[in-house]
């Protein structure tokens, strides 16, 4: 970490575990759950949020001294909406089927609470470089959870990863399926996203006792 001072690297590393936006700060859960049935959309979502939050934090931080505090929510919404439109248009141009798959959830990045939360809590009070690091750090923390959930749901639910049949072919009974292994179709249904995140929280909090609530 020669590039970053100790304080700066803390901005990136803290949200990855002990100050994770999803499991600790309870922000941005809305979009996190719906698109994690497979790994690929989870990764795309994570990358989109990293872009929007990183860039948005810089923009807000540059404008922080000229935004009247009364209308700051609207200003923030306009900044996020613009960035999200860019993401949406890029996805539509270069990955059309994926953008269909994510449907309204790219649009819902606008109301992702992580973004407004970081704008309010950090970008309005700090310089552009630190805001950028904070934005990228928090988006990474969000992305990590998304990817973990997507990984387990796709692996256990359909026996594939990014579409590759890592466990063998379920129809021709090769690989693991030759021994009578079956996919757990339940994992790809929406409710399991909640339960997987619940289990992640459980594991994280039993490893770090400080995080336990009351």
């Amino acid at each position: 970490m020669g590039l970053l001072s100790k304080k700066d690297s803390k901005l990136i590393l803290d949200p990855l575990a002990d100050d994770n936006p999803i499991t600790i700060q309870v922000l941005g859960i809305c979009s996190a759950l719906a698109i994690t049935a497979q790994l690929k959309p989870s990764i795309v979502m994570a990358v989109s949020v990293i872009f929007v939050l990183g860039a948005g934090n810089v923009v807000i931080s540059l404008m922080r001294n000229i935004i009247p505090s009364k209308i700051r929510i609207i200003v923030q919404l306009v900044v996020v909406a613009t960035l999200v439109i860019i993401v949406d248009q890029v996805l539509k141009a270069y990955a059309y089927s994926l953008s269909k798959e994510l449907s309204v959830f790219i649009g819902l990045i606008i109301t992702n609470c992580i973004i407004m939360g970081r704008f309010e809590a950090f970008a309005l009070a700090n310089g552009p470089w630190r805001s950028f690091l904070d934005g990228v750090g928090n988006a990474l923390g969000y992305g990590v959870i998304l990817i973990i959930v997507g990984f387990f749901r796709e692996l256990l639910g359909s026996g594939t990863l990014l579409g590759f049949k890592v466990l063998g072919d379920s129809v021709e009974k090769t690989g693991l399926y030759a021994f009578g292994y079956e996919n757990n179709g339940f994992m790809v249904l929406p409710p399991m996203a909640l339960i997987v995140i619940g289990v992640i929280i459980w594991v994280q909090r039993s490893r770090n006792k400080d995080l336990i609530e009351d």
Partner: protein
Amino acid sequence: MEHIELFFKSIFVDNMIFAYFLGMCSYLAVSKKVATAVGLGAAVIFVLAITVPLNWLLDQYILQEGALKWMGPEYADYDLSFLSFIMFIATIATMVQLVEIVVEKFSPSLYNSLGIFLPLIAVNCAILGGSLFMQSREIATLGLALNYGIGSGIGWFLAILAIAAIREKIRYSNVPAPLRGLGITFIITGLMAIGFMSFGGMLTGGDEPIDDNVETVDGMVNKQKELKTSDLVVETINDTDTK
């Protein structure tokens, strides 16, 4: 009939929280007490009932491809749908502000009970989600849009009411320490969502043979299939997400 069907479908089958996880942030944050949960839930119904029809008008007369025809034939080729995110969120933010001012002026008692929740609502995913789903499902008339807004609002209200009641009770239970608070709430919501999935059969009766060629408004029919054949699950989920 169409109205009744859409109404019940948006409350139970396509429940904002249990089927799409929209508005989870405020759902988790404000569900510690039943009284506050009712306040927020009512505010969500209220705002959805206003913004969904309003955004429907915007979509129909400004944003859709060819929607500007009413301004004259030379505008017929315009397609402004890429602006819908920014238009919808601007409408929502403005309406929330407006509703807050109007309610404060005319009904101070309602303002006292809803007041603190209104600003929260501008960034509630359920509100923007309602408008975006209204757009992607191509809801046909203004009446249906209003219906859809109220229906999904009630669905959200029921969900937050239920979880708040459960959380009040669960405080007296012996939950494993690392699961206390957030963890157990997630797992309970998951279990409730499984329960709500059974409403999927409500509108089709559940037993009719399914015609694969029928284009549904969204994943209704596909959901039926998921429950029956686990092998089809992956493909049908893809279908539901794309529509």
